[in-house]
Subunit: 151 residues, 2 copies
């Protein structure tokens, strides 16, 4: 049985949500997830697409996702942001994350954007090593600022 | 003479680029700016809008910008990202940055997004104080990762 990487379709919405919740649960923050299957269907596969997604499929099951969207740099123009790269716990260690990452990078190259971007936890040394090995730069002095509104 | 905050129009493209370059010059990185007036016209005011922008105008001149675009959180759904908040050097210290910031926040509230986001340099204590005072959270353990492609 081989892992297949493909573009997500509307029918994947529930599987995508399950992976998002699996990760949030692992991080002890599952109550923070207000996204629903319906909002994923609308925002990812509706008239106005707010994100794109690659799926890793194994034995007809969704076992991983790479979810990303367009951003804009006032230096470089259009860029892509990798929001989530998730592989289900039981399938880790088989290079699926790597395959999803590569699908995302290939897509970005084909789109002609000059930069791709994402965030990483500073204590996640193995991820940082993986990204650096592939030429990525870890910005040390920039901090993300978030403000909750309309709560 | 009063500062006016308004939405950017296509004719502002050149003024927007000047402010972007002024900031990049200050940061010693002006050669990194590959954006042109034409790309700003296309990406901000063309058929497919990649960003939105508020303008601060004083004495019929553009003296500041707040440039932002949509992002997507797999926990919260649609969010907005403030990419640049720039006030020209000679007009700093008059509260123009604050007015632009507030225009952005008001816009985000009106759009119903649950979160707004941006980045700040960790040594910029006055900016961090400003954001914290307004309820924003500075994420200490997340790092931005960037990979240049199609160079």
């Amino acid at each position: 049985m081989k892992v297949i990487i493909r573009k997500a379709i509307k029918k994947d919405a529930d599987s995508i949500l399950k992976l998002i919740k699996e990760l949030a649960l692992f991080e002890g923050e599952v109550d923070e997830v207000i996204l629903t299957k319906e909002s994923i269907e609308r925002d990812g596969f509706g008239r106005e697409k707010l994100f794109n997604c690659f799926i890793a499929e194994y034995d007809f099951k969704v076992v991983g996702i790479a979810l990303f969207y367009a951003r804009y740099s006032t230096w470089k123009g259009p860029t892509l942001h990798l929001e989530d790269l998730i592989v289900t716990e039981s399938m880790k260690g088989r290079g699926i994350g790597k395959q999803l990452y590569e699908a995302f990078i290939s897509f970005a190259i084909s789109k002609g954007v000059k930069r791709v971007e994402w965030v990483v936890l500073d204590w996640n040394k193995s991820a940082i090593k993986f990204y650096k090995k592939r030429g990525a730069k870890i910005l040390k002095d920039w901090r993300t600022v978030q403000l909750k509104i309309n709560d």
